[in-house]
């Protein structure tokens, strides 16, 4: 029943001459939350950005190895736009576009050719509802999105991703710029979303990883030091470095 959504095999990534990722092998299962933890500069953000080819934006990045999504190579077999539709991404800092809340959500569907007003209204409503933002903003859908609070903006960004009906949602430290209350709302949301989406989340916050994830991968110096069930990583780590990191000895 649990199938591999994303399978990464021998992934090496270079920024020019600097190798940022070494031999990454990881399998991400459908409808699970996979947390990527590790100290700053360990390559977890770089890794998550390769999953929907956001690293293509940086000219000097070179990649070898394979990444398969739905058993097809994302570089060779997937069309870039289709891939990004399927594998959505939420960024560290909330980045709503300077448009109204409605237009922000409708942006994705519109670029994919949905023009019907009725359809767009439904999509916007559903996405906001899924992101548990609808009640807060339904009276001001046509007000600027930048007028929302930071936590609301991040949930808006999640809703924006959900509006294009993705399969996988990548989250790159989605709560690092938010206050504890907003953070807990987003965590609740992730718990909710897990039922229908596969989620990969990068986090600095180990408690967060413990709270929300099913699997955890510990990155260190561009390598996956340890990957396994969250409970196992947190309570029974195999590697001594994992244990040291989790118990707060470095990082």
């Amino acid at each position: 029943m649990e199938t591999n959504k994303i399978a990464v095999n021998k992934l090496n990534l270079f920024y020019g001459d600097f190798q940022a990722l070494h031999d990454i092998n990881i399998e991400i299962k459908e409808k699970e939350v996979t947390a990527l933890i590790g100290p700053s500069g360990c390559g977890k953000s770089t890794f998550i950005r390769t999953l929907n080819r956001m690293n293509d934006l940086i000219d000097i990045v070179k990649i070898d190895g394979t990444i398969q999504y739905d058993a097809m190579d994302i570089y060779k077999q997937w069309d870039l736009i289709e891939l990004r539709k399927k594998v959505g991404m939420v960024f560290q800092k909330p980045n709503p576009f300077p448009m109204s809340i409605y237009d922000n959500i409708a942006y994705g569907p519109r670029t994919h050719g949905i023009k019907s007003r009725q359809k767009l209204n439904n999509i916007v409503e559903n996405s906001l509802d899924q992101a548990s933002l609808l009640d807060e903003v339904k009276d001001r859908l046509h007000k600027p999105a930048l007028g929302l609070s930071g936590g609301q903006q991040q949930r808006l960004c999640i809703a924006r991703v959900l509006a294009v009906e993705p399969d996988v949602v990548l989250m790159d430290e989605p709560t690092s710029a938010l206050d504890p209350i907003s953070t807990s709302r987003i965590e609740d949301l992730i718990d909710e979303l897990k039922k229908s989406y596969t989620i990969v989340i990068v986090t600095h916050n180990m408690q967060q990883a413990g709270r929300i994830s099913d699997k955890t991968a510990f990155f260190l110096h561009g390598k996956i030091e340890e990957f396994g069930g969250t409970d196992q990583i947190f309570f029974n780590p195999v590697s001594s470095k994992t244990e040291a990191y989790i118990s707060g000895k470095f990082g």
Binding site: N52, M54, G88, F91, N95, P98, G108, G147, R160, V161
Partner: protein, 554 residues
């Protein structure tokens, strides 16, 4: 504890200032003073410049030399009739009075008569006459026609059938001029008004106009003329003339009574004569003689006179000036066509330059690597932005006018200015695009939008305030551009009718008015319009950017 104790305590608690800190404080105060002074100085200079331009642009304030004094006569007595004559004009004519010589010219059409000669209003003169009132009509005709041709007069004037008809037709015809007996001048309709006549000249003995020690009585201000006839001036040198005693000559004692019967002592010599011949001969023969006489006698008797300076002041920049079309190289009429031409030039420059500029900026920011080529391109645009505009004008003249054969005209100048403002637009658009956060692009791309969709739907709207600022800067440059246009736009003051029609814009009009000495007042009025236009452009930047930013701002 009393209040004083509290104060004492407090003082003792303060930290004593060290010499070092006192020095620093002193330096602080001096520096602040210097900065404040220079700021105030700069602001004062700016306010003075703009204020001066505005005052000169809005009001004219001139001393104009006339053959006649400022004394105006509403009703003019005729030689052989008891009744006085009143000249009437259509109310649209912006004249209140006219020298008698001008009035005669208007009736005789010696040149293509136009009110513009007298009040810069481009309006053809339409003279009316009525010959059915017997000796009165003949007398008026004699007054108008002193020394002129009866045939031309008859050909030029339109005859009316009665005085009522005259008033009616003058009221109906723009630029009309007519005459009626003084008795009919009561209760004129609103469309008709009285044109007063100035016909008193300052007649002098030829001796007054001699040159002595490099001094000569060329003209006299009205104030000096008044002083002269109040008897206070004893010698011509007191009012700028040569060393010669003044003699005031009066026709008879009635004329002289105006000054003799006053309380103040009369210092100047006075001579009273009782016949016309005596009057003229005593003026000519008495050294330093001066008298007030009709302008017509100067011509008929061959007398000398001193022109009088009339102080004229009024509104320079009027609605008429803005809304009327220019005439006679801009000496008459207004600048309406020229303002429109300016707008057309701006419009087409923006139409040509904006798409090219923005696309170039998009290419430079979004599609190229920041390599060597980019540095060269950037240096190129910066150099182009700094080239003096007259060089662009030269290029435009050689390339567009000559080689492309577009001729001097609207299209050549628009293309040349487009080239000139392109670097400005490219640079500011580039900066605006660069300032769009990368996270917007990432967010859009991560949703599966293509690069082009991202640029059009997210990056450009976010950059639009900056791009608009660049466009408005370009507009500002276009409004103020003159050098390019001298070579490529020509100097026709009509409305632009096609791509190859020569035209004038405000800055060019200003240059022409000034360099061809057409009208100093109009130069300033045009300058004031330019200043206001630039002011509006700059203010609109703020408004537009605010409006565009509405969605982006919190």
């Amino acid at each position: 504890m009393t209040g004083i104790d509290v104060l004492k305590n407090r003082r003792s608690n303060t930290v004593q200032s060290s010499p070092q800190s006192r020095k620093i404080n002193r330096q602080e105060i001096i520096a602040k003073g210097i900065i404040c002074f220079f700021t105030a100085f700069t602001i004062a200079i700016l306010v003075w410049i703009v204020g001066y331009l505005m005052v000169k642009g809005f009001r004219y304030n001139n001393d104009v030399s006339y053959d006649v004094t400022t004394q105006i006569e509403r009703e003019i007595p005729l030689d052989n009739t008891d009744e006085d004559v009143v000249f009437i004009i259509n109310s649209k004519v912006r004249s209140e009075d006219i020298p008698v010589a001008g009035l005669r010219k208007l009736y005789n059409k010696a040149r293509k008569e136009n009110w513009g000669f007298y009040n810069q209003q481009n309006l053809k003169v339409v003279p009316f006459a009525y010959e059915g009132a017997g000796s009165f009509s003949d007398d008026v005709m004699n007054f108008i026609l002193t020394g002129s041709d009866l045939e031309t007069y008859r050909k030029n004037v339109s005859q009316t059938s009665s005085w009522e008809d005259m008033i009616h037709r003058v009221g109906q015809t723009p630029g009309a001029l007519g005459f009626i007996p003084a008795s009919k001048a009561e209760g004129l309709p609103k469309s008709v008004k009285v044109l007063s006549v100035r016909r008193i000249s300052l007649i002098v003995s030829p001796s007054v106009l001699r040159i002595q020690d490099g001094r000569m009585m060329r003209e006299i201000s009205q104030a000096d003329a008044d002083k002269l006839f109040s008897g206070k001036v004893v010698n011509w040198k007191e009012i700028g003339g040569i060393d010669l005693p003044v003699t005031l000559v009066f026709w008879d004692s009635k004329d002289a009574s105006s000054i003799i019967n006053r309380d103040e002592p009369v210092l100047a010599k006075i001579q009273i004569v009782h016949s016309e011949e005596d009057f003229y001969s005593s003026i000519v023969n008495t050294n330093g003689a001066v008298a007030l006489g009709h302008y017509s006698s100067i011509e008929s008797e061959g007398l000398s006179f001193i022109p009088v300076l009339r102080h004229e002041t009024g509104w320079n920049l009027t609605w008429h000036f803005i809304f009327e079309s220019p005439a006679r190289s801009g000496q008459w009429g207004g600048v309406s066509y020229i303002i429109l031409n300016t707008f057309f030039l701006i419009l087409f420059t923006i139409i040509f330059s904006t798409p090219v500029g923005i696309m170039a900026a998009i290419y430079l920011v979004e599609y190229t690597n920041q390599g060597r080529l980019m540095r060269i391109l950037r240096m190129g645009t910066e150099t182009l932005a700094g080239i003096p505009s007259i060089v662009f004008g030269l290029f435009g003249f050689i390339f567009f006018v000559q080689i492309c054969g577009l001729g001097i005209g609207f299209i050549s100048s628009t293309l040349t200015i487009t080239l000139m403002v392109l670097p400005t637009i490219i640079r500011s658009s580039e900066e605006a695009l660069k300032s769009v956060p990368q996270s917007f692009r990432e967010g859009s791309l991560a949703l599966g939008a293509s690069k082009l969709q991202t640029i059009i739907k997210v990056v450009l709207p976010a950059a639009s305030p900056g791009i608009l600022t660049g466009i408005i800067l370009a507009i500002g440059r276009t409004v103020g551009e003159t050098a390019v246009l001298i070579y490529t736009l020509g100097s026709n003051y009509d409305l632009v009718t096609g791509p190859s029609s020569s035209a004038r814009v405000l800055s060019l009009h200003l240059y022409m008015l000034f360099s061809e000495a057409l009208s100093f007042d109009r130069t300033f009025a045009t300058g004031a319009i330019l200043v206001i236009l630039v002011l509006i452009t700059n203010l609109s930047t703020t408004w537009i950017v605010k409006g565009v930013n509405k969605n982006a701002s919190v």
